[in-house]
């Protein structure tokens, strides 16, 4: 394994991180939180020095194979998390380092689960850094790097593949750097538009910005202690709509750019997503009708909550813990399915669910026609055996990680079954709130240190689609590499 190259990449990431850390420092200055600003600036400096040291020597061989890709991405995110937690901890916003780590991991992985009982007591710099981590983590920090730095050859595509969500990652344009730039431009553009919409909703600039960040990355960190119902109906509907928009494959938005809007609507995954979301909203609306006075109220809440959970954002406009069981179950199914591949949303991914369903249909067809040959198709192209098999294996790995995590969480005396089950789901699928004591009205603060570590791993694993983190912690991956590099 090309360790010099991996360290070099981590050095580049560190340098980028140091630049990003300057932003909360500036916010601190604006709000006269000089101590906090200083801490962020010093962290930025330290990170930059680490980055310089790691990227001192550019290795001769810059070919990135799949293994290097997975390890680089996982390591980058771990590095990001450990470093990003430091200013939150040192500035006093989140005094316990494990809590700060949990919070920043929840930030970067766009989970949005919080250990904080009182969000509003944070410094402005801290609030900014929390929400900004959603923005960067949403599209990915490696993708950000690929869009900025000169091309390192075609194999850097392995980095994009390891970080991007979805069963298969495709290229929109020939050059990787151009592709990454386009994605980030679309992403930033949409975020700016959302920001402007929120300003129209009479929200202060700071709040609009942070809310836009949280929605863009489908993260879900709130900046007020109350739930979303504290905001106006206009804000709720705008945010709900944008949450769904961010849950759509960004490659489809590119189709609008190159003048092929009809292909946008022909996309199978998008249609499935819209239909499932629509049905979910309707079912829940009628189910909670009795709890809310009017149809409009029920619809608004159902729309917001479904949008929030299916996109894995995790905002809550109501304590859905109190909703009837049918609604809660529908929401749980939404939480499992997640958003479309190639979006900033988390979850299992709509296209994977579709692939599983299509392969089940093939199996049933085989019962009726044992000698029949019917090749399942996806987006007009035949679905390869390799892709179907890969999806089933992904499901199994997901299931194993889920079961082991639930088991580990059950050691925590604070958590009941409802919590360990939904908490694991919320972390792996980067949603945020679970049910019961981890529901939308509560937080993850009372978990044991061990449970928090389990959740941290789950959040990272889920964001990076399982394999990078699992490969990263396997001793087999590192066997021989460390010995070889010593020679």
């Amino acid at each position: 394994m090309n360790l010099p190259l991996i360290f070099y990449l981590w050095g580049l990431i560190s340098k980028i991180l140091s630049g990003l850390l300057l932003l909360p420092a500036i916010v601190g200055l604006v709000y006269q939180e000089y101590d906090a600003a200083l801490i962020y600036a010093l962290t930025a400096l330290a990170t930059f020095i680490i980055g310089l040291l790691l990227s001192l020597k550019k290795p001769k061989n810059t070919v990135i194979y799949e293994k290097e890709g997975l390890v680089s991405v996982a390591g980058s995110w771990v590095l990001l998390s450990f470093v990003g937690a430091v200013p939150l901890c040192v500035s006093g916003d989140i005094p316990a380092y494990i809590d700060a780590l949990f919070e920043i991991v929840s930030g970067f992985t766009t989970t949005g689960a919080s250990v904080l009982a009182d969000v509003e007591s944070l410094t402005h710099a801290g609030l900014f850094w929390r929400s900004f981590s959603h923005f960067i983590g949403g599209m990915g920090i490696l993708l950000f790097m690929l869009s900025l730095l000169p091309s390192m050859g075609g194999s850097s595509f392995q980095l994009m593949k390891a970080e991007s969500p979805g069963p298969s990652v495709g290229k929109m344009v020939p050059k990787l750097k151009t592709g990454a730039l386009i994605l980030y431009a679309l992403y930033t553009g949409m975020t700016v538009i959302l920001f402007i919409f929120l300003l129209f909703g009479k929200l202060p600039v700071f709040d609009s910005m942070l809310l836009a960040f949280g929605t863009a990355g489908t993260g879900g960190f709130s900046i007020i202690n109350q739930n979303f119902s504290a905001y106006s109906d206009y804000v709720q509907i705008v945010v709900a709509t944008f949450m769904l928009l961010y849950g759509v494959n960004f490659n489809l938005y590119f189709l609008f750019l190159i003048g092929k809007p009809k292909e946008f609507f022909k996309n199978e995954e998008l249609r499935f997503f819209i239909i499932v979301v629509a049905i979910g909203i309707l079912v829940i609306t009628f189910n909670i009708l009795s709890a809310y006075g009017s149809f409009g109220e029920a619809l608004k809440n159902a729309y917001f909550q479904v949008a929030a959970l299916v996109s894995s954002t995790g905002f809550s406009s109501a304590d859905f813990n109190q909703w009837p069981l049918l609604s809660k179950t529908v929401l749980l199914l939404m939480m499992f399915m997640g958003a479309c591949a190639g979006s900033t949303g988390g979850g299992f991914k709509v296209s994977r669910v579709m692939i599983l369903l299509k392969s089940i249909r093939s199996q049933f067809y085989a019962f009726f026609h044992p000698h029949g040959v019917k090749v399942p198709k996806m987006e007009g192209q035949p679905l390869s055996e390799k892709l179907m098999k890969g999806t089933w294996i992904y499901l199994t790995v997901f299931g194993c990680l889920f079961l082991i995590s639930t088991l580990l969480l059950s050691f925590d005396p604070y958590l009941g079954f409802e919590e360990s089950f939904t908490g694991t789901l919320a972390c792996i699928n980067n949603i945020g709130p679970g049910l019961g004591k981890l529901g939308p009205a509560s937080n993850y603060g009372a978990l044991s240190v061990f449970s928090k570590i389990v959740c941290i791993f789950d959040m990272l694993a889920g964001r990076l689609e399982l394999y990078p983190m699992l490969v990263f912690i396997l001793p087999l991956t590192w066997k021989g590499s460390i010995k070889a590099s010593r020679q």
Binding site: G153, S155, F157, Q158, K161, K171, P174, K175
Partner: protein
Amino acid sequence: MKIVIIGCGKIGLALTKELCKANHEITVIDENPEVVTNVNNTLDCIAIEGNGLSQSVQLSAGIDKADLMFAVTASDESNLLACMIAKTLGKCKTIPRVRNPLFSSEIGKLRETLSLAMVMNPDLTSARELARLFGKHSDIIDIDPFARGRVELTKIRVPKNSAFDGLQVKDLMTKTKANVLLCSLESDGKFEIPCGSSYIKSGDLVSYLATPHESTILLKDLGLHSQSVSNCMIIGGSRLAFYLAEQLIARGIKVKIIECKRERCEQLSASLPKADIICGDGSDQALLFEEGLEQTDAFISLTNLDEENVLLSLYAKSQGIKHVATKVNHTNYGKIIDTLDVGFVFNPQSMMIETVLGYVRARISSSASNVESIIRISDDKAEAIEFIINKDFNRLGVSLAELGRQHLIAPNTLMGCIVRGGKTIIPSGSDALMAGDNVIMVTTQPNVSDINDLIF
């Protein structure tokens, strides 16, 4: 430039790699999903799975906006058809690969009718190259013509105990009457564009520019005479063998081809009546002796297996045959094969790609100059580029000494040669560039497509 490449076999892949390096936007079409995945994972371009003859596939690859299209599938007919279809969908220049000798003889007319920009025939290109080197001393590694043959770039290995061993470049000119310009020096794997104080020792690879006449004088002074070759044995009756045999027979050299498939032998015999076609296995030493290996002047291994070619050539060398050439299809083991004594090693794909790259670069020339040809020196460490200077060039009439003094010439760049009005000038500090000159420059700068990349 936006380039579409249809077919990603050996040549397609090599072409894609080279063009990606030169930073063009490339879309590749191939029917093999594994090839597509591999290209997507390792090269900075898009690969699409599909049939390149389908209009919709070509359109999804962006043929309507492409500048250039290469059709390099395994079938000549498909390549020509793909070019025709591309012409109906867009305004790109089309370049097919056409290997079949049946078409190659009539290719001129086909080019006109189908408005093809260029036709790639790797076998013919290699055959011509081989024929040009034929009979030259084995330490002469390569000769490439510039300015329609008026100037040659010759690459030699400095022989042992030659008069030049241990000399500095500036003293070299005292040892020979030849008027040549040294362009590159490769010593113990290290490459440099030599200056007056560089040392030359035996075993070094040296490239120089000179007229054919001056080159002959230098070679004689070095002891690298041409030897006459009257007969030649070729192992493997491929298309390349056919083209080469044609060229050699035209020069009066007796050709013997050893091919193992009976049917192919009959085809060759019908198309090459003046050659001896032997049906048998080239690795059968008894057969080789039966056909007079001992009296053979030149031996060329052209089978489809690199390993067999290497072994055959090693054997031929061991039998004392001085002129040996070996075809190598896979370039991965290039450095290792270079250490073996197998004579002149060539790769038909590389030879073809050099020509193609020159063409692609010429497409993006600006108004200051036109690129006529590009020859690679020492893999991709340096290039010799021939420009035609246009009226729009902004340093017309400025002397070389002046350009150097004002640091207007790119680093590691040498002005090799100026051809003006039929006369070849090895330039000195007082010479300057005029409109209409053919100028050959040697440089390590990558991706040069215009004279302004080298003279600012």
